[in-house]
Symmetry: C2
Subunit: 338 residues, 2 copies
């Protein structure tokens, strides 16, 4: 490994001068600069990021902590993150979280020297933890959760649930089922319960009483969606439409419905949430979340926060949008159109 001292020796200057050239800190004569640059290229010298980080107190790395990063929605967010990071001088460290213990483990070892900034994605973190991390000097941006004093990017999930439900109400549905994450899930995710609030609000606004037997909870998995839909559709008085809190659950629901001999949207309409790629293939009507944008904006804001003059914490609200496709139609219709 060639060090800065060897470069200095080779160029006949001091190590400090090489450093100055390296960092464009000015006050280096053109001639010296040229000699140093030549030595660097001759020796194929590359600064040691560790030493540099230790000396400067930052490591040119940003961390992203994200639960279940291989889920389509997380991947789409990460795509935005990486795009925003492209061209910056920062490396990306990925902390995947598959369980609450996992999360705590990462959060505990996280400090300023591991990453200069942290993007907390789709994961409510206890205020105390957040405070501790920020206390180490790390810049933090929250995507999909919020906390006083932190820059965050959120969507209005209540409005999203309302949007999906209202769409079905507008089509004439009155028996509308709902499925989302369990309210007491171990991570404390609240998006599903917020969407459920929106569902309830839309029904209330329309004067439709909520039938609690039509509200189900389970993980965002295809098989779980199929299972819950199976339960709902095999009841004596099945719903004519379903609001699902993820496209994945919706895909399972559609699968189950078809397996039971029901047509979609003829016998039952289905609305998803997220608008991941699969939604388009399925022709799924869904509430579109700006996933890519949230990741991109989150990382952009984090990089800004890492800059010379960090802006004040801000809250950015990204709009949800209903994408009408082929899985919703008025009730009691064969192959209806939207």
């Amino acid at each position: 490994m060639v060090t800065i001292r060897e470069v200095a020796a080779h160029a006949g200057v001091g190590a400090g001068t090489v450093s100055r050239v390296l960092n464009d800190s000015g006050h280096v004569s053109a001639d010296t600069r040229t000699r140093v640059l030549a030595a660097i290229s001759t020796l194929d010298y590359r600064p040691n990021p560790l030493a540099r980080g230790l000396s400067r107190g930052r490591c040119q790395t940003v961390g992203v902590i994200v639960p279940f990063f291989t889920q389509a929605s997380a991947v789409e967010r990460l795509r935005g993150v990486v795009a925003a990071l492209d061209g910056s001088r920062y490396d990306l460290v990925l902390f995947d979280v598959e369980s609450p213990e996992h999360r705590d483990e990462h959060v505990a070892t996280l400090n300023r020297q591991r990453a200069d900034g942290l993007l907390v994605m789709s994961m409510p973190l206890p205020a105390a933890d957040l405070g501790r991390v920020a206390g180490t000097g790390m810049s933090v941006v929250l995507v999909d959760s919020r906390q006083d004093g932190f820059t965050s990017i959120v969507s209005d999930d209540v409005a999203g649930g309302d949007l999906a439900t209202r769409h079905l109400l507008d089509l004439g549905h009155r028996r509308i089922g709902f499925m989302g994450d369990a309210p007491d899930n171990p991570f404390g995710f609240t998006s599903s319960s917020d969407r459920e609030d929106g569902y309830r609000r839309a029904l209330a606004d329309a004067g439709v009483p909520v039938d609690e037997s039509l509200v189900r909870h389970g993980a965002h998995r295809r098989d779980v969606g199929a299972d819950l839909a199976g339960q709902l559709l095999s009841s004596p008085e099945p719903p004519t439409a379903l609001v699902c809190c993820s496209d994945v659950q919706a895909a399972g629901a559609i699968e189950a419905a078809r397996r039971m001999g029901r047509t979609v949207p003829g016998d039952v309409s289905v609305v998803g949430f997220d608008d991941i790629e699969m939604a388009e293939h399925l022709g799924l009507t869904t509430v579109r979340q700006p996933l890519y944008r949230s990741g991109e904006l989150g990382m952009t804001l984090l990089l800004e926060a890492l800059g010379a003059e960090p802006p004040e914490p801000t809250v950015h609200e990204l709009d949800l949008e209903l994408v009408r496709r082929a899985t919703t139609a008025p009730p009691h219709t064969k192959r209806g159109e939207t």
Copy 2:
């Protein structure tokens, strides 16, 4: 930031002793050990990874360099990588590559201090680059490419192309189209051309001459697959079956076929490659690649290489397997069965 010296002072010992406790390097009396541990927990001390890395010469980080990491197949590989990494003491740095310049940029800045080990995924790297990286002392494992002297994990793509084609031949097809990545793609990916070799071999073995007009090249994208299939199927003497080098291309091909009023597999059979999640939804017959396993094994081998006694470089061949689903059937059949 609390340093090892403060801990030492607090416990009334020297910094060296704290370090010994921290690293279980032995030769510390039980009593001292207890006092140090107490000080650590009182002060909520966490070692600085940068300083540690600088001193020890390694940074407890592994890198993964992967092109287009949001592609379903890459994500599935990464899922295996992360699983293998779980429980280890290594952080994961992700280098996404979207263009050859991108790749070179990453490879150029890569050195021993940035990561202790590197997993090169689905990307043939010039031997010189590989040599340079390894020369910095970094352990390297190749997934989906091979190079003398490097541990690698590969599949026999020629056999894979053969497998897909033979399946169609066995069903009775004789006019079989092929689509894969361009042989002169900027990254130098060879999997598609290997599969094409397999395709040609299978046809030759069956005594079926290759009709060059049935062989097309394009990127692994849905729209490209649709486009290529459109060209093939609108020819005067269209193929009755298609071998696609990715499930994504196959999905596009199916879409195009249906849009042209052809049934799958009635009018045209389609075989994909990869067996990503989508393949199951589509009922796509495909050549299954052990994606998850390749990532998991790759990272496992890398961690072993990082250990005390690194094993010799080895080549691991992972088997491909035909998964028969609903998109292949004998020619000239409506809704045929496999």
